[in-house]
Amino acid sequence: MDFTLSKEHEMARTLFRDFALNEVKPVAKEVDETEEFPAANVEKMQKLGFLGIPMPKEYGGQGCDTLAYAICVEELSKVCATTGVIVSAHTSLCAEPILKNGTEEQRRKFLVPLSNGQKLGAFGLTEPNAGTDAAGQQTKAVLDGDSYILNGSKIFITNGKEADIYVIFAMTDKSKGTRGISAFIVEKGTPGFTFGTKEKKMGIRGSATYELIFTDCRIPKENLLGAEGKGFGIAMSTLDGGRIGIAAQALGIAAGALESTIAYVRERKQFGQAISKFQNTQFEIADMATKVEAARLLVYKAAMAKDSQKRFSVEAAMAKLYASEVAMEVTTKAVQLHGGYGYTREYEVERMMRDAKITEIYEGTSEVQRMVISASLL
């Protein structure tokens, strides 16, 4: 058993870290304040191949692996969780299900531009009445000649409006329950596909979170992803992979807050000395660092399990559960160690604490992760 990263993973981390510090960190505060999608940095990442890291080269990707992708999301999220989730949702939730379930033609048409950075991707499963209970899909797809007609709406969709390609779930046969759900690839600009409200969120405020509305939206039959009725399985396995991305995002937020706090407590003086000299600070930092490292090992283990083609649902659930709870705990402690300053927007730990919360909620709440983990044991 070897906990050392390979040289290529270490060098990839250097690249992601340099990019995050030089390009992303300088705008992170502004992205949060203005709630504007960081389009310029997304374009830079598209050109550098950050949006196709684990995708095969034959489909326009970088030919790396899930571990390198997780390290990318981690390093980006250390300085800007918004940027981290843009990459995660695009890669894990849109490119990945097309790679795994798409026909050769679908891969050529949709996966190649997603992987080589020409197009951005998103995923639409959640509905107003179908959150954790994803089986309660009300969006319908009816086959009519050579096309399906979509009607319904999706909410809380990451990369909404900004993305060009969407993987969308809809009921093709309500009588069959989860076996009546199918997956579709829908392109922005398709008549009948519009965007509703943009959510105003607590954190990851630069991430575009939109409602998607389908009104008699006619999509070609060949955009059915996988077989009819296989959508629920596609959604669940896609979310297994997505959880590695969100776990990496949570890890990054926690690690970023820890780095910021270490710098702060060395500078901040009270009672005539740096607060890093007080044992309370030292013990808090020790606990934070230990938890961040434990989260990192779980995230990397899940990524490596996926790369070795093993089942990884439980590993991904544990990584996501633990890393997201660590993110919340570490950012809360980070704010506490910053004192009053930590509660102001002058210091990034305030943003990090707000950003952390969503990682316990999306792509399966912590409660869902506990269900997945316990179901494998009991």
Partner: protein, 261 residues
Amino acid sequence: MKIIVCIKQVPNTNEVKLDPIKGTLIRDGVPSIMNPDDKAGLEAALTLKERYGGEVNVVSMGPPQADAVLREAMAMGADKAYLVTDRAFGGADTLATSTTLAAAVKKMEYDLIITGRQAIDGDTAQVGPQLAEHLNIPNVSYAEKIDLDGKTLVVQRQYEDRYHTVRVQMPCLLTALGEMNKPRYMTPGGIFDAYRKREVTIVTRADLDVEDEKIGLKGSPTRVVQSFPKSLKAAGVKEAALEPEEAANFIMEKLKEKFIF
């Protein structure tokens, strides 16, 4: 155009600390990086390749771990990489280094050699110009801008308070300034290929046609007598609110106090 870029692996001096007792650099745990001027030189070479075609090969002399900067160069877009490494090359000063590099480069094809102006660990700025001397080719130091005009290069070089625009016949050598450009990022796939699909060619003592007396410690006439940190002086006094005349008088008084004037 065939371009060779010489790159050096250096400790990231931003993170180097001085041992307060010995006065030497503490290099343990300090990350190694590609020397910034060399990286700018590599970027300039890759840009020339994009504009005019050709190939960009990279050469580094150093210990086996210098492999990392060559992989990095390939991940940025360099074609072939050569690591000149052997115990026999150890302890080389700038003269022995440039002699060794020249022996290695002589075996390669090139129209242009680019080196960095200087390395951030040694700061000598000697290896590039020495290499040009050994190869008997013209050298233009401190290049900031490079254009191709037929078979010659038009180089803008920085010269204290002005620029010189120099026309130089190839083959030639340029030393590049870190400020000349913003080096491109590697790509993730480029990094994986650099490690998993591509090779760094190892060049050892046995591959080079050079005399033993001219390489390594033996070939190094330089002797370091002492190295020491700059001593810290007390912070100066700030007098911002003075009128020009008062300021002049203030400075004169201070100079008199120190017996300088």
